[in-house]
Each structure stands twice: as structure tokens, then as C-alpha cells.
């Protein structure tokens, strides 16, 4: 049993009206007119026969009249029975009410034909209808970062419209923050009672139990020193106390799979099982567009995760795909059953190898080791090398190549150099230059000029290359001393593999002059500090200058294992394909910044639903690259449309990005109610109920309906008795 509380205790004064029927009763007893009557004997006998019934009737009448008045007076005072232990932290009576509806992703959980959000919204509308005319109200949808609420008011239509138009989001929620914001808004109402009714799934991820409880600040104009008050918090459980099992794809990673060929990739999906029962044989599928590329099954332990790898050969370019799980149950959260991903599959590269020192003996050919490194067997067919000797190359058309390698080429004629310069500068073609006996530094400086990252100075012989077999020569040979391990060229080396690179010996190499522009960078240096590999940028293209040979004429590096990856990476880096990585996925709700390449502007960003998103341009100056910020309210693939200056709008797949759901939202494990109540200020000011009405019942089982009914019955009974 609980205790009785009254919403309008002033009406209890109406109980004084109980004296009326009592007075009437007493007055009626004294009012009879006296009459001396002869046949009193018969009156006496009659009365004796009826006296018991009469007295009972009179008492009954009195009781009914008292009941009628007491029933009406008590009903007007709106009594209710409050459960034991509950106590009001504020005065009873009208309460300023903030309705907080959880609109986070987890509220999209479907149970039967209705989502949790649908139920929460219905409950909120019903709770709004039940508010008294003297109770101001405000409303907030809780999703993403908590926002301030409007002050409670009496415009019910506005509040109702907000609720009726409300839709669940894909965002996470911070219900604790929303409750605090609601409490602050309640502080703006002069009504003494404060109440927050939150409609939520009570998922543990949305509540911070270590946060301070929500407090209503003193109203504006309150005397100094007024303490904040603790509002009554009612958490209406949209899940009605039931567990909400859910399975979700929480992460997707894509990595190349050499076993599947050049464009073979492994898509690794992490599937989480947020339920108490293990899931066996959950189907997982990999789709690109409408096509299913791979299928599999995964077993996921209870409250655990499992990874499933799906292999597929992907088309070159930017690929947008999707991993899906197929749940058998009709209930659950559908939105997290799939996750999008994008991956940049490297394109095929065409490479021109200009052999400056061809030889009939294959192993003595300058291009031998380069050809071997770029052979289809080693590159998966991604690289298509064409080898020409220097003379043939000078006359050959250079269009269509991604990278040109000049290996120990005699200083090329000016025309060829100009052609090269144009290709590198304007077409972004990569240029790799290695030296050798045919290279004469001054002629090279004249011919290639600024194409060289740094001008050549002179050829240094550290040890006699011909005597490299003897121990003395080996000791005098230069070794690589400083390596930019973080550069894409060397990133492939693990700590164990680095020794192989550092062990290479170089007997002869070119020394370079200082860089007049300072735009070059030495990626690899010998132990005497002389640069071995220098990178430079020329217009849109990249240039690498290797100061020794790619044959074993001046160095033994080409015969070492470490040569192969460096050359392959160099070709890729020069072609720009190492940076061609899909933009990293972002989380739903976070604003995304998209930067257009030089010379283009972003025309539109199309969301997963197919409609363009509002753009916020952040262009600081006319010279800067076009940059926009877009909201990302939905999960999925966002496409970017570019417009080159004076050109037509086109899709740019490389700029497209994927947004993913907050994996925390997939875990709908319920918060511990006792701890939650404790955090909100104890059972006195917080309670959890399966419906708002039940909450009102728990907070106060309303008695006025029964009392009114009792009053009406008393009225009918009184009428029937007096008519007899």
C-alpha cells in the first residue's frame, strides 16, 4: 500500500459540506409537529413494526448523502495513491512538464507492426492530452547532441505538432544530457511543480550513470541563494521491460587478397550479437550494387562478435559495396543489418622503360632487374611495362604512359626533354631517373634542367665496382644510412625486412648539388649523407632521382630482395595510385568536409536517399580549393558531383564517402533500473514505468474516477430511497 496524496488539496474543504446532510438529518428529527392523537396506540403498533426498517433507511439516507458530498469533494481534490517509498520532491499540484522523446537509432527497433519510436510518440501524445489545463509543457526530441528546449508554455498545438511530425533519426542519443537540458528548460517556468517525462528504450548506451542528476535551476528573479530543485523524472519504457535482442554489422574492413589475384580483396565484416542466445549460421552477403559477389555464414556467440571474411575480385576504380546479414526474426533493428564500404581498387599502369644501356646479355642489360620487378607475375598484371632503347624512345609517342623510367640514358635532346617536361608538368606523368656510366652530369643538368629534383654534381666512386667481391671493397662501399620509413615507398618494409634494405652496398653514385628551390626531399641517403633517392614535384607530376644504377654496375641493391618492392612502390607512387585510397568512412551525424581537386568545384553531394544535401562552402579565398561541409544524417554512400571550370558536372567516385551508424546504438541492453533511479535522485523523484499512464498510476493511482462513480451511485440510491 502507498499513501494518499491530493493534487488539489484545497477542495478538501468541500468535506465541510458533509455537515449539511447531518444537520438536515438532525433537523428532520426535531421538526415533527406535535399532535395529541387519540388512536396513538395504533400509531405505536405501526411504528414498532416499521421502526427498525425506518431507522435503517434513515441511516442509509444519511450515509448516501454524506457519500455523495464526500465523493464529489474528494474527487475534485484529485487524490491518488502513491507507492510506498515515493515522495514528492516538489509541491503537488500542477507541474511544468517537459516531454523528452528518444529519437535515436535504437528507437527504430521494430516490435510487431510498431517501432519503439512509434509507441513512444503515441505515449507522449497521450501524456500531453492528460496534462491539466494549468500545466505548461515543452517537448524535445533526443538525438545527437542535446539541444536546449524551449521554455514550457501553454501552446499545446505547437507541442502536439512537434510530436506528430517527429521522426526517428539514425543518430546516437545522450539521454542523460537531454534530461539535464529539459531540467534547465523547466527552470524558466514559474509553476512550482517540475516534471520530466522521457519516452525511451532505456538502452544502457544512452544513459550515463556517473553523471550528476538533472536539476532545475531557480527561476529568473528568484532570491539569491535559492537552491536548484530536483524534478520528478518519469522514464516511460517504450520496450515495456522486455529484452531487445539484436544482431548487427558493426565494422567492415577491406584489404587486398593476393590469393584472389591482382584485384582480389577480402571484405572482413564484424558481426555483433547483442542477445543472450548464440546465433548459429547467420547468413552474410557481400553485394556490389544489385549483384551478390559472395555469401557465407557466421556463428556469433551470445553478447559477442565474430568476423566473417568474404573474398571477391573487384573492378578497378572506386568500388562501393555493402555487407548484409539476414536475420530470420521479424523483430529487431533493421538499419544496422548492413554496412556500406568503399574501396579504391588500383587501376592498371602503363610504364615506359627507356633502357640507356641495352645489352645482348640479358643480365647485363640495364633494364633487366626493372623488367623483372615489373613483370606481370610479380605485379599481378597491374603494370604493363614497355621497354625501348634510348634512341627508339626519343622518337616514340609518349602519350598514354603513366610512368616513364629513364635508366642510364645519355642526356636526351632538348625536344625530348621538353616533351617530358610537358607530360610531367601538365599530365601528371611520373618520371624515374637512374644513373650509370652513360650519364654525364653537366649534360644531364643542361638537358633535363628543372626536371631533376636536384642538379647532378659529380660521380663518386666509393669502392671499385669491379672489386666488389673482395672484402676490402665491400667494406668501402656505401650503404644506405637514412631511410624515410614512413614514406609510401618504404612503408611496405616491416622492421625485420629493413635489414635487407640497409645491407645493400653501393660502390659508385652521383653526388648532387644543393637544391636551389628547396622543393626536393631525400627519401634515402647513403651512410656518408649523400642522397640516394630524391623526390621532386614538377607541376602535376612527380620525379624520382636515384643516384646509382638499377643494374649491378654500380651497386648490388638490384640483386637484393629489397629492391623489388621499392621499385614497384616507386612506380605506383609516381603514378599517384598509392594515394588513391577511398576516403575513410565517417559516423552518421558528423558533418563531413569534402575538398574538390584544384580547378574544380563541388556541384552537389547526393545522399543515400538520392536527394542532394545542403552544402556549406568554406572557401577562404578564390585561389583556395573548393571545400564544402555537408551534413550526413543517414548511413550509406554519399556521391560527390564535380564541375571542372567551364566543364560539365560529373560524378567523382574518388570523393564519394560512406557514413556508418554508431555501433553503440546496436546494443540495446537495458540500463540497470535501480542504478538509474539512484542516478536520477532516488525513487522519490524518479521512476520507470511501461507507460505514462502506468507511471501516473504508480506515482499516483488516480482515485477520482471511482469517487465520482461512487458519488453518482450515492445520488441514484438517495433518489430511489427518498421516492419510496
Amino acid at each position: 500500500m502507498g499513501r494518499l496524496v491530493f493534487a488539489h488539496p484545497a477542495y478538501l474543504w468541500g468535506l465541510l459540506a458533509l455537515s449539511l446532510p447531518i444537520l438536515v438529518h438532525l433537523f428532520n428529527r426535531r421538526r415533527p409537529r406535535p399532535l395529541a392523537f387519540g388512536a396513538i396506540e395504533f400509531v405505536l403498533r405501526s411504528q414498532q413494526r416499521r421502526v427498525r426498517r425506518l431507522r435503517l433507511r434513515q441511516i442509509l439516507l444519511l450515509a448516501l448523502r454524506c457519500l455523495l458530498i464526500a465523493g464529489v469533494a474528494l474527487a475534485l481534490s484529485r487524490p491518488s495513491i502513491e507507492p510506498r517509498g515515493a515522495q514528492a520532491s516538489v509541491a503537488r499540484g500542477p507541474q511544468a512538464t517537459a516531454l523528452v522523446v528518444d529519437a535515436s537509432l535504437s528507437m527504430r527497433y521494430r516490435r510487431g507492426s510498431q517501432t519503439l519510436f512509434g509507441r513512444a510518440r503515441s505515449e507522449a501524445l497521450a501524456a500531453l492530452e492528460r496534462l491539466g489545463p494549468d500545466e505548461p509543457a515543452t517537448v524535445a526530441l533526443c538525438a545527437g547532441n542535446p539541444a536546449p528546449l524551449p521554455a514550457p508554455g501553454f501552446d499545446r498545438v505547437a507541442v502536439r505538432n512537434v510530436l506528430e511530425d517527429a521522426k526517428p533519426t539514425y543518430l546516437g542519443s545522450d539521454l542523460t544530457g537531454c534530461l539535464a537540458a529539459a531540467a534547465r528548460a523547466l527552470g524558466e517556468s514559474p509553476v512550482a511543480g517540475k516534471r520530466i517525462v522521457a519516452f525511451t528504450d532505456l538502452a544502457a548506451h544512452s544513459l550515463r550513470l556517473d553523471a550528476p542528476p538533472p536539476l532545475v535551476p531557480p527561476p529568473p528573479g528568484a532570491p539569491p541563494g535559492t537552491q536548484p530543485v530536483r524534478p520528478n523524472v518519469v522514464l516511460v519504457d517504450a520496450a515495456q521491460g522486455s529484452e531487445l535482442p539484436n544482431a548487427a554489422v558493426v565494422a567492415t574492413a577491406v584489404q587486398p587478397a593476393a590469393s584472389l589475384g591482382a584485384r582480389g580483396y577480402d571484405v572482413i565484416a564484424t558481426v555483433a550479437n547483442h542477445s543472450a542466445a548464440a546465433i548459429a549460421g547467420l547468413p552474410v552477403a557481400l553485394r556490389i550494387g544489385q549483384q551478390t559477389l559472395a555469401k557465407g555464414f557466421v556463428d556469433v556467440p551470445a553478447h559477442g562478435t565474430a568476423k566473417k571474411t568474404l573474398g571477391a575480385v573487384l573492378p578497378p576504380g572506386t568500388v562501393a559495396g555493402r555487407v548484409e546479414i539476414a536475420r530470420a526474426e521479424g523483430e529487431g533493428l533493421d538499419e544496422d543489418d548492413a554496412q556500406e564500404f568503399t574501396v579504391e581498387v588500383p587501376r592498371d599502369l602503363r610504364v615506359l622503360v627507356v633502357d640507356g644501356a641495352p645489352s645482348a646479355l640479358r643480365t647485363r642489360d640495364e633494364a633487366f632487374f626493372v623488367e623483372a620487378a615489373l613483370a606481370p607475375a610479380r605485379t599481378g598484371g597491374r603494370v604493363a611495362p614497355t621497354v625501348l632503347d634510348a634512341e627508339a624512345a626519343i622518337n616514340a609517342p609518349l602519350d598514354g604512359y603513366d610512368v616513364i623510367l629513364l635508366l642510364d640514358v645519355i642526356a636526351p635532346p632538348k625536344a625530348f626533354s621538353e616533351k617530358l617536361r610537358a607530360l610531367v608538368s601538365h599530365r601528371g606523368v611520373g618520371l624515374f631517373i637512374s644513373l650509370g656510366d652513360h650519364v654525364e652530369p653537366d649534360a644531364y643538368n643542361d638537358s633535363l634542367g628543372d626536371l631533376l629534383p636536384r642538379p647532378l654534381h659529380l660521380i663518386k666512386t666509393a669502392a671499385d665496382p669491379s672489386g666488389k667481391a673482395d672484402a676490402r671493397g665491400a667494406d668501402q662501399a656505401a650503404r644506405f644510412g637514412v631511410v624515410e620509413w614512413t614514406h609510401p615507398l618504404f612503408r611496405v618494409f616491416s622492421a625485420a625486412d629493413r635489414e635487407g634494405l640497409l645491407g645493400a652496398r653501393t660502390f659508385k653514385y652521383a653526388l648532387l648539388r644543393p637544391d636551389p628551390s628547396g622543393g626536393s626531399r631525400a627519401l634515402l641517403s647513403y651512410d656518408d649523407g649523400a642522397p640516394a633517392l630524391v623526390e621532386g614535384q614538377h607541376g602535376q607530376g612527380r620525379v624520382l632521382l636515384y643516384t646509382s644504377t638499377v643494374s649491378h654496375a654500380w651497386t648490388d641493391w638490384p640483386v637484393r630482395v629489397s629492391f623489388l618492392p621499392v621499385l614497384q612502390q616507386s612506380v605506383s607512387w609516381l603514378a599517384g595510385s598509392l594515394e588513391e585510397r577511398a576516403p575513410l568512412p565517417s559516423q552518421v551525424g558528423n558533418e563531413r568536409t569534402v575538398v574538390a581537386p584544384q580547378g574544380t568545384r563541388i556541384a552537389a553531394v547526393i545522399g543515400p536517399g538520392g536527394s542532394p544535401l545542403p552544402l556549406r562552402r568554406e572557401k577562404a579565398s578564390p585561389q583556395a580549393q573548393d571545400s564544402v561541409s555537408v551534413p550526413a544524417p543517414q548511413p550509406g554512400l554519399y556521391r560527390v558531383q564535380l564541375q571542372p571550370l567551364g566543364g560539365a558536372v560529373r560524378d567523382e567516385p574518388a570523393l564519394g564517402f560512406v557514413t556508418r551508424l554508431d555501433p553503440k546504438e546496436s546494443d540495446l541492453r537495458r540500463v540497470d533500473e535501480a542504478e538509474l533511479k539512484a542516478q536520477l535522485g532516488g525513487a522519490g523523484s524518479a521512476q520507470v514505468a511501461s507507460s505514462a499512464q502506468a507511471a501516473e498510476g504508480a506515482r499516483g493511482t488516480p482515485l477520482w474516477g471511482s469517487l465520482l462513480l461512487l458519488g453518482v451511485l450515492a445520488l441514484l440510491g438517495e433518489g430511489a430511497l427518498t421516492r419510496r
Partner: protein, 303 residues
């Protein structure tokens, strides 16, 4: 002409009322009811001292030289004792007359009639004794007037009746016992009462009177309000004979009251009829002359 009680009440002293009633009765009778004064010869009886000298048959003396006295029917004349209930309940009557007043009119008229035809009339007013009375009377008898047949006696009867006030408890049995004692030989006892006697000894006393071969006539007087119980408002009913009182809702108890009254009247009628007591129920809103006329006519018919 009918003397309704309202008119009668305005006629003034009882003498006038009673006389009017008597006249009304006489007017209604086509034949004199008086038989006592008939001179029908009954028998001769040898004169003995004490006999009336005027009744000596001088013709027989002339023939037989003996004094014979004629005896006529007149000598079997009635001795009628009027017993009027003077208890408190008889004082009830919110109409023209109380039951006692009504009874007094009836008794007075009867006294007139009886004396007029030569019968002797006695009077007993039943009730508790007057405070200042010097008469030594038994319990239940307030006033007693012995039998006589003179006009002056009638005046005395009327005076006593006029002076009677309804008060005190009913003790009709005491008065009837006293009547039985005083009536002597077979006579007529006329009882005027409402019979509201909580002791319930009235009926046995009446039957006892009849058992002594008296001609007992009961005029059962009831007020119209006592018969119909027409009250509506909550009423505190006060006893007229003692301290009893009761609050009642008349509407609620009317049915029950009427049942009780009906049962009482039926029991009374049945018992008295069975005991051969002449029983007449008289609502006091009826004209007394009509009542008496009907009564006399009925008795004439049954005689």
C-alpha cells in the same frame, strides 16, 4: 332536516343541542317509539300497601269488594343507564366536535327520548375522579347519576354531560362493573366510547354486562381522522391519556396504521356481535340525529 355536527356545534348549550337532536329524531319517527305509557292491561293484583293508590281498579272493587290493583305494561318500563367514556382520547376531535362532545349530544338526546317515554335514565361518566369531587365512587367512575324519569333529571343528566371533560386513562371496565351493579334488574346499558383501552378490559366488561342479561348498546365513536389517518408531514404523536409520544412519518406508517385499526374494529365488532352486544360504529362527522334515527329504527325493527 339533518343536523350535521358543524351546525349542531353552533347551537349552543348541550340542552339545546340534545333537544334539537331529539326533535329531529321524533320528526323522523312516524310512530311514537314510546311504549311505556301504553295502558294495555296486563293483570290484576291484590292490593298491598305500597302500591300506587291511583292504580286501584275501582270497578273490580265495586264488583268484588276487594282492592285490586291494575298492572299495565307501563310498569315494565326501561331503566336505561348511559355510560359515557370520559377518558383523554375522547377529547380528540379537530372537527366540529370532539368525540366526547358528540357522545354527550347523543347521550343527551337519548336521555330526552327515554324520559319522554317514561323510562328511567341513569348516567355514568367513566374516567378518573374529579379532583374536588366529594362523591365516593369506585375507580373508573367519575360521575354517577342514579335512575330517574323526570324532566328535571334529564336536565341534570345534560348538565353532567356538559361538564364532562375528556382526560386521563381509559378505565371503562371499572365503570361498566359499576354499571352492572347499579343497573340492577334487566335494563339497558348504552355505552358511548372509542374503546381505546390499552388494558383491553373493556370488551370483557361489556360481555359481562350482556351476560347479566342487560340490553347492551355500544355506540363506538371514532373521529374521521382516526379512521382515515390523513396526515402527511412528520408528526410527533402525543398520547392524550399518558406520557407516551412518538415521532413518525405518517405517510410511511399509514398503511400499517389502517391495517391495525381495521383489525381492531373487526375484532371488536366480531366479539361484541358474538356476545350479542348491539354495536354501532359512529364516525363523529355524521349527523347525530340521523345516527340515532337509524339506530332506533333498527332496534324497532329487531324488537
Amino acid at each position: 332536516m339533518t343536523l350535521d355536527p358543524a351546525l349542531l356545534a353552533r347551537l349552543g348549550p348541550l340542552q339545546v343541542r340534545a333537544r334539537k337532536v331529539m326533535e329531529g329524531v321524533l320528526t323522523g319517527l312516524h310512530q311514537s317509539p314510546v311504549h311505556g305509557q301504553s295502558v294495555e292491561f296486563a293483570e290484576h293484583k291484590e292490593y298491598a300497601p305500597g302500591d300506587e293508590i291511583k292504580h286501584i281498579d275501582w270497578r273490580a272493587y265495586a264488583k268484588l269488594d276487594k282492592y285490586y290493583v291494575k298492572r299495565f305494561e307501563m310498569e315494565t318500563n326501561l331503566r336505561a343507564l348511559l355510560v359515557v367514556d370520559g377518558s383523554g382520547s375522547m377529547a380528540y376531535g379537530r372537527g366540529a366536535m370532539t368525540k366526547l362532545q358528540y357522545g354527550a349530544v347523543c347521550a343527551g338526546a337519548l336521555a330526552y327520548l327515554l324520559v319522554r317515554q317514561g323510562d328511567q335514565v341513569g348516567l355514568i361518566v367513566a374516567g378518573d375522579a374529579d379532583a374536588g369531587s366529594t362523591e365516593r365512587l369506585p375507580s373508573g367512575v367519575r360521575s354517577f347519576l342514579p335512575f330517574a324519569a323526570s324532566t328535571g333529571h334529564v336536565q341534570e343528566v345534560l348538565r353532567r354531560l356538559d361538564a364532562a371533560v375528556g382526560r386521563g386513562p381509559t378505565d371503562l371496565s371499572g365503570a361498566l362493573d359499576f354499571a352492572a351493579e347499579k343497573a340492577g334488574r334487566r335494563g339497558m346499558v348504552v355505552v358511548l366510547s372509542d374503546l381505546f383501552d390499552p388494558t383491553e378490559r373493556s370488551l370483557p366488561a361489556l360481555k359481562m354486562l350482556r351476560g347479566r342479561r342487560h340490553d347492551v348498546l355500544l355506540l363506538h365513536l371514532l373521529d374521521r381522522e382516526e379512521i382515515d389517518f390523513p396526515f402527511d408531514d412528520p408528526t410527533r404523536f402525543l398520547s392524550m391519556e399518558d406520557e407516551r409520544q412518538i415521532d413518525a412519518q405518517p405517510r410511511q406508517i399509514r398503511e400499517s396504521y389502517l391495517q391495525e385499526l381495521r383489525r381492531f374494529l373487526e375484532d371488536t365488532r366480531r366479539e361484541l356481535t358474538r356476545a350479542d352486544v348491539d354495536y354501532v360504529q359512529i364516525p363523529t362527522d355524521r349527523a347525530p340525529d340521523r345516527v340515532l334515527l337509524e339506530l332506533l329504527a333498527r332496534r324497532e325493527g329487531s324488537a
